[in-house]
C-alpha cells in the first residue's frame, strides 16, 4: 500500500500518470452531469478530514491517486479515484484496518440489497495490477 510507487505514462520522458499538461487527448469532451449523492459524500468526507479533522492532507490524497497505473487512471471517474484514495489513505495511516473495511463493505452490500438495489460483488481494486480490459476480469 506504499504511496511511493510510481507508474509512468507510456510516453517517453518519465511522466507520472496524472501529469498530462502538454499531451493531446483529443477534442474536449463537453459532457456534463450532476454529481450523484455518493460522490457528494466522498467530496464531503475528504474536505472534512483534510480541514476540520486534520487527519490527513489533500496532498496525501493526490499522492495516492498519482500512484495509480495509467489504465486505472484513465478508466475511472474523478470521484471513483478520490473514493479509492480515501480508502487507501485511511488504511495506510492505520485509521481503519483492512479487516474492518472488508467487514463493513460486506455489510454495505447487504444493506443496499435489502433496500432493493442490485449490487456488484466486486471490490474496488487496491493496487494497480495489470488491467487489460473487460475480458480479463474474473
Amino acid at each position: 500500500m506504499s504511496g511511493k510507487q510510481q507508474n509512468y505514462r507510456n510516453n517517453a520522458g518519465g511522466r507520472t500518470v496524472h501529469d498530462v499538461g502538454g499531451l493531446d487527448f483529443g477534442a474536449v469532451d463537453m459532457d456534463e452531469h450532476d454529481l450523484a449523492l455518493w460522490e457528494r459524500r466522498v467530496d464531503a468526507m475528504i474536505v472534512l478530514l483534510a480541514t476540520d479533522k486534520a487527519a490527513f492532507t489533500v496532498d496525501g490524497m493526490r499522492r495516492v491517486i498519482e500512484s495509480y497505473g495509467e489504465q486505472q487512471y484513465d478508466n475511472t471517474t474523478y470521484y471513483e479515484k478520490w473514493c479509492r484514495a480515501l480508502r487507501n489513505l485511511l488504511v495506510e495511516q492505520d485509521v481503519v484496518s483492512q479487516e474492518e473495511l472488508a467487514q463493513k463493505v460486506a455489510e454495505a452490500r447487504a444493506t443496499m440489497r435489502a433496500a432493493g438495489r442490485d449490487v456488484s460483488d466486486e471490490d474496488v481494486p487496491w493496487n494497480e495490477g495489470i488491467w487489460t480490459g473487460e475480458a480479463d476480469r474474473t
Binding site: G21, L23, W38, V42, A44, C83, V105, G116
Partner: protein, 210 residues
C-alpha cells in the same frame, strides 16, 4: 439532485434516487462513511452539512460577486488584492483548504484557468466543477493550444489580445473576472449577474451580450 432526507441520524443510509446497480465505489463510500462515523471521526450531520453548504455555492453566487465588482470599483480592487477578505465581506467563507485569486480580463488579456495535475477549482465559490474541466482532454491541451480549446467552446480571441493560461499548481484557486458587456449601462447588480455564466469565470466563455 439533493436529497434532504439524508439528515436523518437514525438511518444513515439513503439510497440514491435514480438507482441503477450499485458500483463497487458506491458500496465503498457507504462502508467508509459508516466506519468513520462509528469511530467518532465524522458525523452524519457534518457530512450532510457540507453537502448543504456546497448546494449554495454555484455559478449564480460567482455571478453576484462579478456583478458587484463591475458596479463598485473599490470592491473590485479588494477582490483582486485580497480575494478571501472580499468574499468574506459578502458572507462567502471559502474555508481552509486553499486561497483564491481573481484574474481580471481586459481588452488586452483574456484569462483561462486549468489544473493540469488534478482538477483544482474554486469550489467554495462556484460549486463543483464541470466534468469537462476534470477531463484529460481539457487538462492536457489547454496549456499547449488554448486558442484551439477556446474555439471548441465557441470563443474566438483575436490575436491582438493575449490569451493567458493559469495552471493551478499550488493551493491557489483562480477565478476569472470577465469584462462587463457593452450596452449594460444603468443595469442593476441583479441584471448584470444574468450575463455572467460559470464558464465566463473559468475563461471558456464570454459574458452574454446585453
Amino acid at each position: 439532485m439533493h436529497d434532504h432526507h439524508d439528515h436523518d441520524h437514525d438511518h444513515p443510509f439513503q439510497p440514491d434516487h435514480d438507482a441503477g446497480p450499485a458500483t463497487p465505489y458506491e458500496v465503498l463510500e457507504l462502508a467508509l462513511r459508516e466506519l468513520l462515523i462509528e469511530k467518532g471521526i465524522l458525523t452524519n450531520a457534518e457530512i450532510a452539512g457540507h453537502i448543504d453548504k456546497m448546494a449554495t455555492r454555484n455559478a449564480a453566487l460567482g455571478a453576484k460577486v462579478v456583478a458587484r465588482a463591475w458596479l463598485d470599483p473599490a470592491f473590485k480592487r479588494h477582490l483582486v488584492d485580497d480575494t478571501r477578505a472580499a468574499l468574506m465581506s459578502m458572507d462567502i467563507d471559502i474555508g481552509d483548504l486553499a486561497e483564491y485569486r481573481v484574474v481580471e480580463n481586459t481588452p488586452d488579456v483574456h484569462n483561462v484557468i486549468v489544473c493540469t495535475l488534478c482538477s483544482c477549482y474554486p469550489k467554495l465559490l462556484l460549486g463543483y466543477p464541470p466534468s469537462w474541466y476534470k477531463s484529460v482532454t481539457y487538462r492536457s491541451r489547454t496549456v499547449r493550444e488554448p486558442r484551439a480549446v477556446l474555439k471548441e467552446f465557441g470563443v474566438d480571441v483575436p490575436d491582438s489580445t493575449e490569451v493567458r493560461v493559469h495552471d493551478s499548481t499550488a493551493d491557489l484557486r483562480y477565478i476569472v473576472l470577465p469584462m462587463r458587456p457593452s450596452g449594460t449601462e444603468g443595469w442593476s447588480e441583479e441584471q448584470l449577474a444574468t450575463t455572467v455564466s460559470r464558464d465566463s469565470m473559468i475563461g471558456t466563455a464570454l459574458p452574454k451580450p446585453a
